[in-house]
Symmetry: C2
Subunit: 210 residues, 2 copies
């Protein structure tokens, strides 16, 4: 029983987060029990991998009976650290930042968008979802006061590194980077790259080769 300590592999963590969206869907359709096979069909992998992923959780289904949609979702949430509402900020409220702020369902998944920053006077003070866009100069204070640990960088490439530095200085440990440069940050900081152009390139390769 080597089942303790949180040490899920990155692919497993990614899939768990994606299962959560699917479980949400099933939940809405009032499906209370789901089997590894059904989840696999919805996801596009196989039942064995689903069970292997769920096996890593602290506890899970009922032997021989499938998983309770609700309990499984709850357990995934807990494992991903979403039980206590995690606070997030967005830096740079252009089209992209605005899109994230308005369309990402933070509150459905144990997070809350706690602050948004920009430097443009046209944007500062505007409201997005009951949240007022703040001046970038207030970033340090706000992040510390509100205990924000995750930040999305949606600023132009040339200022991305300096925004990253400021975030890190003030205690942010998870960064979603939409700029096109590779950021330098201390090892304790996790960076997720969202380089849209790279996704298009991957598609180009696939389209060329089958």
């Amino acid at each position: 029983m080597p089942k303790d300590g949180p040490d899920l592999s990155p692919p497993t963590v990614l899939r768990l987060s994606e299962y959560l969206l699917i479980l949400e869907q099933f939940s809405k359709e009032n499906k209370e029990i789901i089997s590894s096979r059904e989840l696999a069909d919805a996801y596009g992998n196989n039942a064995s991998q689903v069970r292997q992923d769920i096996f890593r959780l602290e506890n899970s289904g009922r032997l021989g009976q499938g998983y309770s949609t609700w309990e499984l979702a709850e357990e995934i949430r807990r494992t991903l650290g979403l039980s206590d509402i995690r606070k997030v900020c967005i830096v740079g409220i252009g089209n992209l930042g605005k899109a994230l702020a308005t369309h990402v369902p933070f509150s459905d998944y144990g997070m809350s968008l706690a602050a948004a920053f920009d430097t443009s006077p046209n944007i500062i003070g505007k409201n997005i979802n009951d949240l007022q866009v703040q001046d970038f100069t207030e970033l340090s204070k706000t992040i510390k006061d509100k205990n924000i640990v995750i930040g999305a960088i949606c600023v132009p490439t040339n200022v991305a590194q300096s925004v990253c530095d400021t975030l890190v200085e003030n205690g942010v440990r998870g960064i979603l980077n939409y700029s096109r440069i590779r950021l330098k940050a201390p090892k304790h900081v996790s960076i997720q790259y969202q380089q849209v152009i790279c996704s298009f390139m991957q598609l180009s390769y696939k389209v060329s080769n089958d």
Copy 2:
């Protein structure tokens, strides 16, 4: 010498596309030669993996001398199918679609944004980067006429599947999905999921566990 046929693993394809951004950077700084070590340092992996990735390409560097920044970039582009300009469309020109249309540097990486669609009369006819947003009803004809093979879905979740179906019917074989549902499509169609909330969840896990 088992070096033919295009059969790069997904992680390798992803990294190659990311190397390309880095090479671009070095190129701008007039660095003409780059070693596997330098590239690895910039990327954040190790020289061995860089060489292994490049080894998969048809040809590459000069033994003992490093890689020509320009030639390597060109070879990656070729391998990813970006030599002949690949045409792309975006469906749904809300904040997100607008952000992609304006900020993704398609033309720097062998692609071209050839069409954009929406259903709202407020948006149809507007110009983005010399491109006029078209009525969604023109999608089928336009995609076929212009030979568009890649599409980004930036529409609300409830219509995403039907947009996907229309794209596939008209010959699109690569889809970037920004909606929150899992799309059903024939096997010859590649789908890349860009579920932003999942990226945030992955960060949450990392932030919780180190």
